[in-house]
């Protein structure tokens, strides 16, 4: 039995999936012939592949109603149970947020408390992302085709007359729309964007007149990355399941476009 270096895990996987070139394939086969334990592992994986293809292959089928899938659906009614469940979840989460986080709406003034309270912003931003980014039909209240109204409406509620909806097109994210929602117990704005594959991100903007701090931070939880900052009385958070690098670029673009 000659000594051979063990192929990498990646090579063993590629062997099983038939994604090695002929030379590498022969080398792995030669190794496996001499190493029964790894050969058994590979055989297991191959059997797994066969089982998976057998289990799901049968679902590759057309159905009589398929053509209807290509026809736009009528606007959904309120009876749709799936959407209602999500809406109910949203109400519950925000009710819990209001009770848990904002029994005292004023910004605390001692440093340690202030830190705790700024941490509410990313939590709120993440909750908003989790709730609304998963909405298929009603992710926003006002859609992008009414952008001027959206900016004017939310600008008024936030007392930011020159509020413009940040443009993230250069980064590949187009506006889906926006909605009004509570941020720190005050009227806040959420804008949602998505790229052409449906990957979404949200921008949350709130105000607190008593804040004089400026800070920028990352927060990460539940697989959702949030980049947030406080600048004078404006708090802003960008959330998404995207790389920190992309998030930073988005945050930078939003920061530069927000009124000072």
């Amino acid at each position: 039995m000659n000594e051979q270096t063990r192929p990498t895990d990646a090579e063993l996987n590629a062997y099983v999936d038939g994604q090695l070139d002929a030379e590498a394939r022969a080398r792995v086969a030669l190794y496996l012939a001499d190493h029964p334990e790894d050969a058994a592992l590979v055989a297991d994986w191959q059997a797994q592949n066969d089982d998976l293809r057998a289990a799901f292959g049968s679902f590759e089928q057309s159905r009589p109603g398929d053509i209807n899938l290509l026809v736009p659906r009528p606007a959904p009614g309120y009876w749709q149970p799936r959407r209602l469940t999500l809406a109910a979840a949203a109400v519950l989460i925000f009710a819990a947020g209001a009770l848990g986080g904002y029994a005292t709406p004023r910004f605390p003034t001692t440093p340690s408390e202030r830190l705790a309270s700024t941490d509410l912003l990313p939590t709120e931003a993440r909750n908003a992302f989790l709730v609304y980014a998963s909405e298929v039909r009603h992710p926003v209240e006002v859609f992008a085709d009414d952008e001027a109204h959206l900016a004017a409406w939310l600008g008024k509620r936030l007392a930011m007359t020159d509020l413009k909806v940040p443009n993230l097109q250069p980064l590949g994210f187009r506006l889906v729309g926006g909605r009004l929602l509570p941020v720190g117990g005050q009227p806040g704005a959420m804008f949602m964007y998505e790229d052409q594959t449906g990957e979404r991100l949200t921008v949350l903007i709130g105000r607190n007149r008593e804040n004089k701090e400026t800070s920028f931070r990352f927060a990460s939880a539940d697989g959702v990355e949030t980049f947030y900052w406080l600048d004078q009385d404006i708090g802003c958070a960008v959330s998404g399941e995207i790389s920190r690098d992309m998030l930073r670029q988005v945050a930078d673009a939003v920061y530069r476009q927000l009124p000072v």
Binding site: N13, D17, R53, A55, E60, S134, Q196, R200
Partner: protein
């Protein structure tokens, strides 16, 4: 797009827990693809649709993750222990359900949909190395799960 539906249905079913959930996902995916078709510049329509479907699925999973308790409406769509399936297939399905969604998507794209690792990386928008580690993780988990549940009663040979 119509010609792709059977394959998209297969991919949808391989990500979800029930036929109903699968059809919902398929429908949402087709709708999204049609709405955004002007933005499709690539060459491979199916890969693009798979990417949309995966994103939609992960979006929906986020909501489920926040609701660990099974809702009434969801409970109806959970697969009942099937009596039609051969035992082996039922166990495999259970092992698959237990996989993390990201590892599961990689496994299905490679094994069931037959994509090259590089294509999977493009579809999911992740590095190829991440594809490999998720694939490896999925295989190990599946193997362990199948072994752990593979309790063979000892029988004396006649």
């Amino acid at each position: 797009m119509l010609a792709l539906l059977p394959q998209l249905r297969r991919y949808s079913r391989s990500l979800t827990r029930s036929g109903e959930e699968s059809e919902d996902l398929l429908q949402d995916c087709v709708e999204k693809a049609l709405v955004n078709r002007a933005q499709w510049h690539g060459s491979n329509l199916k890969a693009w649709a798979c990417r949309i479907m995966t994103n939609l699925h992960f979006n929906a999973r986020r909501t489920l993750r926040r609701r660990p308790a099974v809702s009434i409406e969801e409970a109806e769509t959970l697969p009942a222990p099937s009596t039609e399936d051969p035992l082996e297939k039922g166990r495999l399905q259970q092992a698959v359900q237990a996989l993390p969604p990201d590892a599961r998507a990689v496994l299905m794209l490679v094994v069931v949909e037959g994509y090259a690792y590089r294509e999977v990386a493009e579809i999911l928008g992740i590095p190829e190395g991440t594809v490999m580690s998720r694939l490896s993780r999925a295989r190990q988990a599946l193997r362990e799960k199948m072994r752990e549940e593979n309790i063979i009663p000892l029988r004396r040979t006649q």
